[in-house]
Subunit: 81 residues, 2 copies
């Protein structure tokens, strides 16, 4: 079994309204914050025990479903077997 950590971030220059509004809310609560970026993570459990194959599968999932290549960049890592 492999546990994948699929991390989907916005590309540089793409607006991040969730991050910006979270920053505003933190500012209003009195926290001094320079920037907030929102990131989506999926932890995916696979039966595949070959880490390399599992990571390749995770990248294909990003290409086919999880990420939008226009605005997202993604990283896929095997966390443990």
């Amino acid at each position: 079994m492999t546990l994948l950590e699929v991390r989907i971030e916005l590309k540089k220059g793409v607006a991040d309204p969730e991050g910006e509004n979270t920053k505003k809310a933190l500012d209003l609560l009195g926290f001094e914050v320079k920037k907030v970026r929102s990131v989506k993570v999926f932890e995916i459990e696979l039966d595949e025990s070959d880490e390399e194959k599992a990571v390749d599968m995770g990248k294909e999932m990003c290409r086919k479903l999880l990420a939008n290549p226009v605005i997202h960049k993604y990283t896929v890592e095997a966390k443990r077997e």
Copy 2:
């Protein structure tokens, strides 16, 4: 400057419709997936250079705004100064 990684996960036993639906969609695309868990991450830049103080501040942000203690557990880590 400290960059915090604030990771907000659902507690065990709490329903994760986003993860479940992502799993269904991956199944339909032909991926054999055992489980998908959705996780929210905020990367927060702070001027605070003391890592320990920055992490404490991040935990307070979770308590006051970012996490719902009924359903969420959170971890706060300093990624780099």
